[in-house]
């Protein structure tokens, strides 16, 4: 009886990430030591910092007075190139993603096709866009064609993977029901699979358009054409006011893309 009423001192503490105390403390001390030693090796050159700050001042004052007119024809050409790259690469990427996604869906494809498609997607995802762009620039020369190929590849890596994962999660009973009517493979894909995955495909495509535009401006810096190339030129000529104009335009377009793709995805939800 007394054991029920008595406020027995039973302790509870949340389970630790590392149970053994000495291992825990060793890890903490080790990380702290490494941080101290690492910070000591950073050699700060204060003269260069002050020079850089002065340059940053000019940069920012350039931003306050963006110059759209002096380099307008370059900017216009770069923008058109970037937008063309974005649209064509997205269209080509989506068109290629759909067969790869179907092949990379474990519930549809035989193992050898699954392995091949997943392999292609893994490679497309593993390579960072800038590295791919450098390769394609080396292969096909400077200009938007290299950028187009880079963005197409990155679209496959992004879209085919997410679409394949979505296809793997569809309701199998709808597929079974359509197969039971005597439908052919194409008809099963159309009625039972596409109808379940198209909202996701459209949403991802809208999202990827806006990522591709942002990326088109980055890969231009390594020579793959577009507005990035124009920006790079402006910066290396210290034309900060033109650079500011370009950055403002990029920001405006990215925000517009994001807004529109958000609207599209909301309507589909």
């Amino acid at each position: 009886m007394s054991s029920v009423n008595e406020p027995t001192a039973r302790h509870w503490s949340p389970p630790r990430l590392i149970e053994t105390p000495w291992v825990r403390w060793a890890v903490v001390i080790g990380v702290a030591t490494y941080l101290v030693l690492a910070v000591e090796t950073i050699d700060v050159n204060w003269v260069r910092v002050s020079e850089g700050l002065a340059r940053a001042g000019r940069l920012f004052s350039g931003f306050l007075t963006p110059d759209f007119t002096t380099r307008w024809s370059d900017i216009q050409q770069g923008m058109i190139e970037s937008l063309t790259m974005t649209v064509t690469a997205t269209v080509a990427g989506v068109a290629l993603s759909i067969p790869f996604a179907l092949g990379a869906a474990g519930n549809l494809a035989p193992w050898w096709l699954y392995g091949f498609c997943r392999g292609v997607i893994a490679v497309a995802r593993a390579l960072q866009e800038i590295i791919v762009a450098i390769f394609f620039v080396a292969m096909f020369g400077f200009g938007p064609f290299a950028g187009f190929l880079t963005l197409t590849l990155s679209t496959i890596g992004f879209l085919a993977k997410l679409l394949a994962d979505d296809i793997e999660e569809i309701d199998p009973s709808q597929v079974e029901a359509i197969r039971a009517t005597g439908a052919g493979t194409g008809q099963v894909i159309d009625f039972a699979i596409a109808s379940q995955t198209i909202p996701r495909l459209v949403g991802l495509t809208a999202y990827k358009v806006d990522i591709n535009f942002r990326e088109s401006s980055v890969i231009g810096i390594v020579g793959a054409g577009g507005i990035g190339a124009t920006l790079n030129t402006a910066l290396s000529r210290y034309e900060f006011d033109s650079a500011a104009a370009i950055l403002l335009l990029i920001i405006a377009i990215v925000m517009a893309c994001e807004y529109v793709s958000g609207l599209i995805r909301k309507r589909l939800a």
């Binding site: 709808q174 029901a177 039971a180 009517t181 005597g182 194409g186 009625f191």
Partner: protein
């Protein structure tokens, strides 16, 4: 009409779902397939239209052997067999009309179905079927906007749009309330009689099976242990199918709409015969 000979299915996991099942269904005959969960009811009907590949044994529809068909011959055989599912298995994002027309996929080419250009006769047939199942005012609604009973009616219309000779019905009422269950079973049996369709109906609810289905086949652990009239389902037979249980208690006390005792439903079935 349908003849199943020594059908065996062993899954890759090593489970044997069917052990030499032989069964015949005459034209226009409706049979109820009962048995505990895991007895192989679903596997059996899916082996008929080859959604599941049987390990051995043969299935004949009229004189056509279905086992062994492939490609377009298999698809042509499938369109003669309509199927109705437990969870309706409608294409949720398509309209009621598209779902019913999907029953015609075995008859139309890919591009025609891609552009939803079904022949006039198919559209006429689909509209007539929707009238028959009482959904003519819902044709352009999306399937996921319907209630359970309405969905199952769409499922029935889709199966009938195939102009089948045989219906495979997998637990048509398991997701429905008792009243809707009876309405769906009544509609199904009426339609089969109207069109002289043979049907194999998997069903959990023994009382419902006795009420609507004159011939019952009992499956236990992949083997047929009973094949006879619904009136022959005595407590001893039910014990044989499902295992030991007190079967003398009535199982239909939850339907107040048509408060029938099992003996009353037996009378109804006898009267129908």
């Amino acid at each position: 009409m349908l003849r199943i000979e020594q059908l065996t299915k062993r899954y890759r996991t090593g489970d044997t779902a069917l052990r030499g099942v032989s069964l015949g269904v005459a034209a226009g005959e409706i049979i109820g397939l009962i048995g505990p969960s895991g007895a192989g009811k679903s596997t059996l009907i899916r082996c008929v239209n080859r959604l599941i590949e049987p390990t051995s044994g043969r299935v004949f529809l009229e004189e056509n052997e279905i086992t062994g068909l492939s490609g377009s011959a298999l698809r042509a055989a499938r369109r003669r067999i309509g199927m109705i599912f437990q969870e309706y298995a409608l294409v949720e994002r398509l309209s009621v009309m598209e779902n019913v027309l999907s029953g015609r996929l075995g008859y139309v080419g890919f591009w025609a179905s891609w552009f939803r250009r079904f022949p006039e006769a198919d559209i006429e047939r689909a509209l007539a079927l929707l009238d028959r199942v009482g959904l003519s005012d819902q044709i352009d609604k999306r399937a996921d906007a319907l209630s359970g009973g309405q969905r199952q009616r769409v499922g029935i219309a889709r199966a009938l749009a195939q102009e089948p000779e045989l219906l495979l019905v997998d637990e048509p009422t398991a997701s429905l309330d008792p009243k809707t269950s009876r309405q769906v079973m009544r509609l199904l049996t009426e339609l089969c009689t109207e069109r002289r369709l043979a049907a194999v109906v998997n069903i959990h609810d023994v009382a419902l099976a006795q009420m609507f289905l004159p011939r019952i086949v009992g499956l236990r652990a992949g083997e047929i242990v009973y094949d006879g009239p619904a009136t022959g389902l005595t407590p001893d037979v039910l014990t044989l199918i499902y295992g030991e249980e007190d079967w003398t208690q009535s199982t239909t006390q939850d339907d107040e709409e048509e408060a029938q005792t099992p003996s009353a439903s037996e009378d109804a079935i006898l009267a129908a015969q």
